[in-house]
């Protein structure tokens, strides 16, 4: 093995995403193609995808994707799931044996509906109940990890290069109205299956290129509200922050973006729109522990849309392009051109400027 200095690993993580504003189906294979020109940004220690609108026949049920370290873990975990949910369907997630992907855990999916009686006795709404169940399994059931838990969406991730992960999960067999993708180059944490992106909770998923220097401050704050960071990767906390700000606190996506990528105080002071200045002062003051510092470009997936966001200093690259009903987001323009050579309006959003794209009403 060559030590650092004798070998250079060009890297920096890669993200990409696509959405059809008309809600038209897009094959998961397209995302794999977009990731190929950015191959050198990852180092084979993580790749993953999230697709929205991929389970129309089960769209009313939570789709839980789980990793188990062994079969016995699955048996135990199923006993636990049956106490809380009606399991509509359970199956192995179909995969392909390929040399590039090895050491896979037991990978299973369940379409479930929370048991009414349990919801009533716990006095929780459905989403909060599912979120708490996910936290419980990830923190307390040894060897079991829920890596996807939304409705009509699913995450597929592994240790490997993204294009290989797509082949492994037979992604070309899925169609959705939006997709996000990630190629990983882990910096501070292990390259393991649970640590690959996207990180999801309910229907929120996050792919992230960067490194959060405020991770522990953010983690300590968010863990006060029942979230548990168990997956050994900084990005996990962004997912929980977005869930907390948008689902629990009821902020808009743009407001949540102003919390995590808050402008400098000096920039806020110079704002001439007084209402806007007040709002930024309020958000930055109230949620000061949720400011995310350090470099990031992220794409947040949610039911019916995507949000792209850079850190306020824009220490990572990100471009957006369009063609007809589709909008593309990627770390590099090459990724967009690889799948849509005629893409138009290529532009780079400013640091801290959220780009929200939604599918038109009724089309998802």
């Amino acid at each position: 093995m060559k030590p650092e200095g004798q070998v250079r690993i060009p890297s920096g993580c890669a993200i990409a995403a696509v959405i059809s504003r008309e809600g038209r189906p897009i094959s998961g294979g397209l995302m794999a193609e977009a990731m190929k020109p950015m191959h050198d940004r990852s180092n084979g220690l993580g790749g993953g995808f999230a697709g929205y609108g991929i389970y129309p026949e089960y769209k009313d049920f939570y789709a839980l994707h789980l990793f188990f370290d062994q079969r016995a873990t699955r048996k135990n975990c199923e006993v636990f799931l049956k106490e809380r949910f009606e399991i509509i369907k359970s199956e192995i997630i179909p995969t392909r044996k390929i040399p590039a992907i090895t050491g896979e855990p037991v990978i299973w999916r369940y379409f479930v509906a929370p048991l009414r009686s349990v919801l009533t006795s716990m006095q929780l709404d459905e989403k909060e109940f599912v979120a708490r169940t996910v936290m419980y399994i990830n923190a307390c059931v040894d060897g079991a990890y829920v890596f996807s838990s939304g409705k009509n969406m699913g995450t597929f991730k592994a240790v490997g290069f993204p294009e290989d992960v797509a082949e492994f999960y037979r992604l070309e067999e899925y169609e959705g109205y939006s997709w996000t993708a990630h190629g990983r180059y882990p910096t501070n944490t292990p390259g393991w299956w649970g640590g690959a992106h996207p990180f999801t909770l309910l229907d929120y998923s996050v792919v992230h290129n960067g490194e959060i220097s405020s991770y522990d401050a953010n983690r300590r704050f968010i863990e006060m509200f029942g979230y548990k960071c168990t997956l050994q990767t900084d990005t996990e906390v962004i997912t929980y922050i977005m869930d907390y700000l948008v689902r629990v606190q009821g902020l808009t996506l743009e407001e949540a973006a102003s919390v995590i990528a808050a402008p400098f105080w000096s920039t806020i002071q110079r704002k001439t729109d007084l209402a806007d200045r007040e709002k930024h002062l309020y958000l930055r003051t109230l949620f000061s522990s949720l400011l995310i510092t350090g470099p990031f470009s992220i794409v947040l997936g949610f039911t019916g849309g995507l949000m792209a966001l850079n850190d306020r200093l824009k220490l990572r690259s990100m471009v957006v392009g369009e063609k007809e009903d589709r909008v593309y987001i990627a770390s590099e323009e090459a990724a967009i051109r690889a799948v849509e050579p005629e893409a138009e309006h290529i532009w780079a959003p400013a640091g801290g400027e959220p780009v929200v794209i939604r599918v038109k009403d009724g089309a998802y």
């Binding site: 020109p37 090459a334 051109r337 400013a350």
Partner: protein
């Protein structure tokens, strides 16, 4: 002229082909390959498609023309030669450039000209035809950066915090000094007749390359920013 289709080639094989080529070369089907022509003193190169990051890094005399957009860190630490981008350019254009010229027709992303430097006859020149993002010329230590803002309408010619940490070189902006907020360690003033004459010399080759009207460009006011030696840096580069 040699045509090379680089579809599916990785950056290493691409550069090997480039080194073997004789005379002018056109690359077709380029899609994200990094380090194109890195360190090369020849040839005359045209790129069709999207070149990857660090195009012309450590360039040592070659000339590169990109027909469309280019990505991040173009001309990273380039020493000599010329890079022409007919579209827009990503972040950190001309990163730590120490010689040569980088001409961009449209806009630049964040941190254009970060840490440019100069030494004796090596004076790098970065010209952006459109607008530039935040942190333009961050830590600039030498060389010349020019932002023209052509066709920008109401858009700002440059984002926030230009010239942060600047301690050498010159920055020209085609606007009045009042339009831009500079740090206290920088002196920004309307360009003097001497400055404008110097500017004209820089813009002559740029206007030739992109077929632009030099006099029309020079008819607008220009601001020149240089480090303020009487107010040196005493603390962190920006209070956040």
């Amino acid at each position: 002229m040699t045509l090379i289709d680089v579809t599916g080639l990785d950056h290493r094989s691409l550069n090997e082909k480039l080194r073997e080529a004789d005379g002018p070369v056109t690359l077709t089907g380029c899609c994200g390959q990094r380090f194109i022509a890195a360190g090369m003193s020849g040839p005359e190169l045209t790129v069709e498609g999207i070149p990857g990051n660090a195009l012309g890094a450590y360039l040592n005399g070659a000339s590169i023309t990109v027909d469309g957009n280019a990505q991040d860190a173009v001309g990273d630490t380039m020493n000599e030669g010329r890079i022409i981008v007919r579209g827009s350019i990503g972040d950190a254009a001309g990163y730590a450039m120490r010689g040569g010229q980088l001409f961009v027709r449209n806009n630049a992303g964040y941190r254009a000209g970060i840490h440019m430097k100069a030494y004796k006859d090596k004076v790098p020149l970065l010209i952006i035809g459109g607008t530039a993002g935040s942190f333009l010329g961050e830590y600039q230590a030498g060389g010349v950066i020019i932002i023209l803002g052509l066709g920008r309408d109401k858009q700002r010619i440059v984002g926030n915090f230009p010239c942060t940490g600047m301690h050498g070189g010159k920055l020209f902006l085609r606007c009045t000094p009042e339009e831009v907020l500079f740090p206290n360690q920088v002196t920004a003033s309307p360009a003097s007749p001497d400055d404008l004459e110097e500017l004209r010399q820089y813009l002559i080759p740029y206007c030739q390359v992109f077929n632009l009207d030099l006099e029309e460009i020079l008819a607008s006011p220009f601001t020149i920013a240089v480090p303020c030696s009487s107010n040196p840096y005493k603390q962190m580069y920006v209070s956040n």
